[in-house]
């Protein structure tokens, strides 16, 4: 296809040409950035979490006398165990995706103190006996805690638990001791130290890191018996029993402590709540992109239809002097291809600029380069689809039009 006549014809319609190029460019810039934002959020929502999310429910119990926590905890655990269908029960102080984060930073040398810059920030999970079965964790190395390692009042209002053993996640083990086994190694934060006895598969933190995926897994589990912070009872059952187990667990705990505040939730609902904002943002972005592409496509249809109408006579003349229908069809397709190409080249530059601005203002990541050709391809395709209708009508113009007055 000879493109010189197309270019010279476009030159005669400078303003509409510029407008359509600008529209495609803007659409391309918005599309690339929106898709990038969508993919980041979807990736976050899809982060794996090595526990039994489907079978887990949690019941929190607040407002009971801290002095009685020892006997209360034993009584509550026993009451919950008696619920039909419950496979395991434990008590913990927090769960993944609850936003209830107890953070601390540890080093790997004995002189590390909490304020050291090179330390790693870690979430502390205080867990009671049998937490591994209740949460459905997967042991990668070493062992879980022995019964004797669970000490009552191990926190006792301090910032760190009074124990010397810890289980860490795979991601934390790789961060602290890359290429080595973490077993037997020690986490330090003067004057406390904790020896790693086990490594479990990656469990999410209560609050995720948006910029660094593996940071969302830096967890350390500490054995704690009854303590004032241990107020989240976790129960595991089959997904089919889950809702009934939750309801009965709430009733049982409320019955034994009528003055307490009892709140139950399935882990599924905890997850949904955590991601609710992210989820709605994804839908908004998808909707805006879809509507914007539709508007762009209809704009191309409208403008090309107008050009076809305007050039009916010229098309007829071309047909009369020997051009085939395919030639006419190709003419409009090529013209659209040229317009789209100019648009996406400008659009890719704009998309990159917008990304730079967003990186500075909103701490977004740099957009990987392959988003640009992806956006370009999408707009090329949309352009070709949009132009095919009017182009087909143009190709249907009979040669006899050449002999008629306009």
């Amino acid at each position: 296809m000879e493109i010189r006549p197309i270019v010279s014809s476009l030159k005669k319609h400078r303003i509409p040409t510029l407008l359509i190029v600008l529209q495609i460019a803007l659409a391309c810039a918005v599309l690339c950035n929106a898709v990038f934002m969508i993919s980041g959020r979807v990736k976050q929502m899809r982060l794996s979490n090595a526990m039994d999310e489907q079978g887990l429910v949690s019941v929190s119990l607040q407002g009971t006398d801290p002095k009685l926590i020892g006997s209360d905890t034993q009584r509550n655990l026993a009451a919950l165990r008696s619920i039909a269908g419950v496979q395991a029960v434990s008590v913990v102080h927090t769960l993944p995706l609850t936003n209830n984060n107890w953070g601390w930073s540890f080093g790997i040398t004995p002189d590390s103190s909490v304020t050291d810059q090179k330390n790693t920030n870690v979430t502390l999970y205080f867990v009671g006996q049998d937490f591994q079965s209740a949460m459905g964790l997967q042991l990668r190395e070493g062992r879980y805690f022995n019964d004797s390692e669970y000490v009552d009042n191990a926190i006792n209002n301090a910032a760190l638990p009074n124990t010397h053993v810890v289980i860490i996640t795979d991601a934390l083990s790789k961060q602290l001791w890359p290429g080595q086994s973490a077993l037997g190694k020690t986490l330090y934060s003067k004057p406390n130290y904790y020896t790693v006895v086990g490594v479990v598969a990656d469990v999410l933190r209560p609050r995720l890191w948006t910029s660094n995926e593996s940071k969302s897994y830096y967890n350390a589990f500490f054995p704690v018996g009854a303590d004032d912070v241990m107020r989240n009872y976790v129960l595991r059952s089959t997904p089919a029993d889950r809702d009934r187990v939750l309801q009965q667990a709430v009733e049982k705990l409320q019955a034994t402590s009528p003055q307490a505040v009892v709140k139950g939730a399935t882990f599924q609902s905890i997850r949904d709540k955590y991601y609710a904002d992210t989820n709605s943002m994804v839908w908004i972005l998808v909707l805006v992109c879809a509507v914007m592409l539709a508007v762009t496509a209809f704009g191309i249809v409208g403008l090309t239809s107008f050009w076809v109408g305007q050039r009916r006579r010229q098309i007829g003349i071309r047909r009369a002097v020997g051009a085939t229908r395919a030639d006419i069809l190709n003419y409009f397709r090529t013209e659209n291809f040229l317009l789209s190409s100019a648009g996406v080249v400008l659009g890719m530059v704009m998309a990159y600029g917008v990304n730079l601005y967003l990186m500075k203002q909103y701490e977004l990541d740099r957009m990987p380069w392959y988003y640009l050709p992806f956006g370009a391809l999408a707009l090329w395709l949309i352009g070709q689809v949009a132009v095919s209708g009017p182009a087909m009508r143009a190709a249907a113009v009979p040669p006899v039009v050449a002999t008629q007055p306009t």
Binding site: N33, A276, V288
Partner: protein, 434 residues
């Protein structure tokens, strides 16, 4: 003349229904998306206390050690107990209040209501007059009750409705964390947004249920929620928050004149210098005194997703407008022969220009109305979201007018270029072509 142009515009728009619908729809979608996000942004970045915000200030000082010290570091966002109490008792501002939030178990005496975690604000007596908090029944507490760690409570209107059916509950007993409190006041309708004075409990639409004296709350070791930032070897031991090197309290002052603002700032500097000399503050004086709106800016309370959405919808509106300009241009140019006939019959370029502009204005008005409906629908969708600000997403008169003005303005601008081009047709040339 105007009416005639309107008539012409409607005729012309009716002649090509698909194209008109496309233009109106494009404007409506662009305006709808844009106004939805702008309204949310407008609501979220509003002034929580329009009458008072100008004289409310948030003092910051820097009591930390030299770890991570650098030039131009911002002081911590909160105060320690020692500094907070000193500034509170110094009474150098017209009014001042120290505060922190927390959750406290509420055990109703009514058997019909289950116990629940009440959202509490622990503060000092000036809180109520300083922020102009309205009372439905009773009053707030006074200085002596702060000092005496009195077991008194002020409750919100919604808690009063929940527990006492909206009746005057002043004098009644409220059981919090196994302790009896006497209710001395019930608030009226008070929902400042953003929730500026205690932002850790959520920046929007999170009102407290109960207000207690800070001293009383500490006396009963009530749990404090929010951030506790410590330095040195201090842990955030909740039993000894009064003495540890941690910041966990928020402090507001009322300063009515520029002179008193300058005085207060030098007071903060002098205090920091004294503490530095005494060896308690290791850093040189580093103070800030931001007013309410500057403070909200600094905290960036508006969620960044909301601002991203606004930029996205502006980009979308631009695409829609460019689209409309293109279509309008196509439409006007197609009517070149009609226009040239009118020119030949004596219509001036200005008259043609005016007529075409009215036609594009009509498209804009229709698009604006459609956009308004879409924005109302969009805001309804936002309100269905679980975000804490969702309830606030409502359009007010100002935003409604802005919507219409933007819609018509945008489409007039969109019509300007096509009308300008189209009214330049040469009368004779077009006639000859026919």
């Amino acid at each position: 003349m105007f009416a005639y142009y309107f008539d012409l515009a409607f005729r012309s728009l009716k002649r090509n229904k698909a194209l008109t619908a496309l233009m109106v729809l494009a404007i409506a979608l662009g305006i709808g998306a844009c106004m939805t996000t702008l309204t949310v942004l407008h609501v979220l970045s509003g002034d929580p206390l329009p009458q008072r915000s100008g004289s409310l200030y948030y003092p910051q000082i820097d009591p930390r050690d030299m770890v991570d010290y650098g030039p131009n570091v911002e002081p911590p966002e909160q105060l320690s107990w020692v500094d907070g109490m000193y500034l509170l008792h110094a009474k150098r501002a017209a009014r001042q209040a120290l505060m922190t939030g927390g959750m406290v178990p509420l055990q109703p005496t009514q058997s019909t209501v289950d116990p629940f975690q009440a959202v509490a604000l622990y503060t000092s007596s000036d809180f109520f007059p300083m922020f102009g908090v309205p009372f439905k029944y009773g009053t707030g507490w006074v200085d002596t009750e702060d000092e005496g760690k009195a077991r008194v409570a002020v409750i919100s209107a919604s808690l009063n409705d929940k527990l006492f059916g909206g009746k005057n509950s002043v004098g009644q007993v409220l059981r919090l964390q196994e302790t009896a409190f006497r209710i001395i006041g019930v608030l009226g309708d008070w929902h400042p947004n953003p929730h500026f004075y205690e932002w850790y409990m959520g920046s929007y639409a999170s009102d407290e249920d109960v207000y207690l004296p800070l001293t009383t709350a500490r006396d009963l070791k009530m749990e404090h929620d929010g951030s506790t930032d410590c330095w040195g070897n201090s842990g955030g031991d909740p039993e000894h928050l009064e003495t540890v090197n941690c910041t966990w309290l928020q402090f507001w002052v009322q300063l009515d004149t520029p002179a008193s603002v300058a005085d207060y700032k030098s007071f903060l500097e002098h205090y920091s210098q004294d503490q530095h000399t005494a060896g308690r503050f290791l850093r040189p004086p580093n103070v800030r005194l931001r007013n309410l709106m500057q403070w909200l800016d600094y905290l960036q309370v508006v969620p960044s997703d909301t601002r991203l959405q606004m930029w996205l919808s502006l980009g979308f509106l631009a695409v829609c407008l460019i689209n409309t300009v293109g279509l309008m241009l196509a439409k006007f140019m197609r009517r070149a022969s009609e226009l040239s006939v009118r020119r030949a019959l004596g219509a001036s370029q200005r008259a043609l220009f005016g007529q075409l502009l009215i036609e594009s204005g009509v498209v804009g008005l229709l698009g604006g109305l459609g956009g308004l409906l879409l924005a109302l629908f969009g805001l309804w969708l936002v309100r269905q979201q679980p975000a804490d600000y969702a309830e606030l997403a409502r359009m007010d008169i100002a935003m409604l007018l802005t919507t219409l003005i933007i819609a018509v303005g945008a489409s007039l601008i969109a019509g300007l270029l096509p009308a300008w081009r189209a009214c330049h047709v040469a009368p004779a040339l077009q006639l000859k072509g026919n």
